[in-house]
Symmetry: C2
């Protein structure tokens, strides 16, 4: 193998491979050669010189032999391979097919990390707004944001949507998103839905004095997505929700950089559970919902939280947060982390402790199911956020003239 001291630009993929007896160094070499130039040792020297710039390289092989107490099946290695950028075009499908196309099917192997080169990254503008841009649109710079989610809206008509929107908005939320399973439909087509919801937003704004972003669900045929986005934006949509994994990362990447789509895009994690939860197969959450979402230009990224009804382990959540916020992906703007599912006001202290101030607190049932109604649900969350920022224990803050927060804590409890 060549041992050049300098290397051309590469993307680095890290795999966790489980195997009771494999020679992991040999396996690593097989990946590095097999997924790039195909064969190496058989090549004549002159050809090797030409092909060296295409050859993958084994960067690291960390073998974890099972402890005495563990079964043989616990034996694994973390293998890192460098893939020369020159081998693939500058798009996420090409990157993923290169590093985990065929290899995904080759035994117990999971893609646990993926770092692109500066050159590859430079082909991606990333989030158009990012955290700062979303805050600028809302005029909110000094606290975590609050989002609520339409609930149970299949089969509802426009007046019912409008009313549900208004009730959510009146409680002081910053963002409202469509349910991800509300598709284009004759009863509430996106243009009319956006129109009545933005009317309700304006009406609520007169009460709350706040701005609000409404993320309308962008659905339908792939090659019609740009036109569908244009329609929504023309009708007044000031944000979009997108089921990224149902369409591929490249669709997000192209939507987010399209000159006609100058609104924040919120990435929904629908289908993500088909990839990340197995230790033996798939793509880890920090890659899937962290690095690739930011690279593809998501301004906000939803994912299951460690706190609520649909849970993801805390360390996986923190790895997503790191991927969305880290400076090492600069110059890409940062994406807002939105830990979701089963969130109620009594979980706000945990969320802020884990995520800090750059987070969107996001709730569905925790807003709509509030004992005093959805508007009170929004207020309870805002009170929880204010109490945390003031450094006041939430029980005390609730008792001190914040009955909506008190009712939420009574209903769902408090974790501090």
């Amino acid at each position: 193998m060549p041992s050049a001291t300098t290397h051309a630009a590469c993307c680095l993929a890290t795999y966790r491979c489980y195997d009771e007896k494999a020679d992991f160094h040999k396996k690593a070499l097989g990946i590095a050669v097999g997924l790039t130039v195909g064969s190496w040792t058989d090549l004549p020297d002159a050809r090797k010189a030409e092909m060296e710039k295409h050859l993958g390289r084994v960067v690291q092989v960390d073998v974890h032999e099972p402890a005495a107490s563990e079964p043989a099946s616990a034996r694994y290695a973390d293998i890192q391979i460098a893939y020369p950028d020159v081998n693939f075009s500058r798009d996420i499908p090409a990157l993923l097919v290169t590093v985990f196309g065929k290899l995904s099917m080759d035994g117990r192997i999971k893609l646990i990390d993926l770092d692109v080169s500066d050159g590859f990254r430079s082909a991606f503008p990333g989030p158009r707004f990012g955290i700062q841009g979303v805050r600028d649109l809302l005029g909110v710079h000094d606290r975590p944001l609050l989002m609520s989610i339409f609930k149970s809206v299949i089969g509802h008509d426009l007046p019912a949507l409008r009313e549900q929107f208004y009730q959510q908005a009146a409680g002081g939320v910053d963002l409202i998103k469509d349910d991800e399973i509300l598709f284009e439909n004759p009863q509430t087509p996106i243009e009319q839905r956006v129109e009545v919801c933005m009317e309700a937003a304006a009406q609520a704004s007169q009460v709350t004095g706040q701005k609000l972003l409404y993320a309308a669900n962008l659905t339908g045929p792939t090659f019609g997505l740009i036109e569908q986005a244009r329609k929504a934006i023309h009708a007044g949509a000031n944000a979009l929700l997108f089921n990224v994994l149902a369409y591929g990362f490249d669709a997000l990447s192209e939507l987010s950089r399209h000159p006609d789509i100058r609104v924040p895009i919120m990435a929904h994690p629908a289908l993500a559970g088909a990839y990340y939860p197995s230790p033996y197969h798939g793509i880890a959450a920090n890659v899937l919902l962290g690095k690739l979402m930011r690279l593809a230009g998501a301004d906000l990224v939803l994912f299951p939280s460690p706190y609520g009804s649909v849970v993801m382990p805390r360390e996986e959540n923190m790895a997503i947060k790191e991927a969305l916020l880290t400076d090492s992906a600069a110059p890409l703007k940062r994406s807002f982390p939105v830990p979701s599912a089963g969130i109620h006001p009594g979980l706000v202290p945990l969320i802020l402790k884990d995520f800090g101030g750059e987070v969107v607190v996001n709730a569905g049932g925790g807003v709509h199911g509030h004992p005093m109604g959805a508007a009170a649900g929004g207020r309870a969350f805002r009170q929880a956020i204010d109490g945390c920022l003031a450094g006041t224990p939430l029980r005390q803050y609730a008792a001190d003239g914040h009955p909506e927060l008190q009712a939420a804590i009574d209903a769902w409890g408090l974790k501090e």
Copy 2:
């Protein structure tokens, strides 16, 4: 819950859920309600009447209690839910987000089957050519087809590609496909690649007397795929290869029905291993590489075989085959199954036994690595197919004046 004796059109999703102590009937009801109307028991009666057509329905719950010899963790249930078609638009992203969007993240749950309604299916033209159409293009109706794969072509120039193409074609293969990791690149851009390869095909045709389909790899930005396909076809491409899972099923669905793309499309399974191998998570191979590929219009579908280097269990292969060939998906045309990876001539008897005559025998190393060269590799496969169809044991057939097959068996063995 309503107990109507007739039901509106529904798509049926079947999940395997593992849980040591869950009430699986309750869980099933939670899915049926939660992923459709959201809540049911709280609704007033008048509202129930309006919403009933949107309500999901539990079709079946089969609980498998662990045997005495099994651990508690082996407890699972197969749950089948009917989702009313009226809830989602007629595209695969909407279908998948509905049946396995949020749910994919909710514990140990795998989507093991998915049957669409006749109404939903009627929105999909399916494969434009299908098995019969591909056979008609090639003029071959009486035997399994033979395909070979470009190998190690990253970094090669056009003359090298042309030569490799010619050598493969000269052995009598029916189809040649690009390597799926060959992306659009300055050295061998798709138009020039297609041009030189189709020249080589014409040249080989004068020797073999056969027609040949060349599936050029369709890559690059999603919203440029149609234009890229047009370029390839304009340059003479008579088939396309597509990494479906990197772009989403809908991209395939729209490409396959596009009026300008009147060539067979071959679906590559790159990234499929991120979904199907875990028993606890993801989407089963028969859905991913079978039903959805056919619905989306793949004329040929590649997947790992049970025989070769990258293996899939035989029963999963047979389930894919069934999905691609069954009459129950009519009026969709049938898609050619292409079991792949590590195939050599000595495996042809097994392939034909498992798949019958409607199969594409597909090889990379088994053609290029033949001791007498790639053209001999093609001939060895054709001899293996002919021998099987004649009902002659392959060792005898090889000894009877078929030295290329003999050399292949000597090199790689024979399984009958």
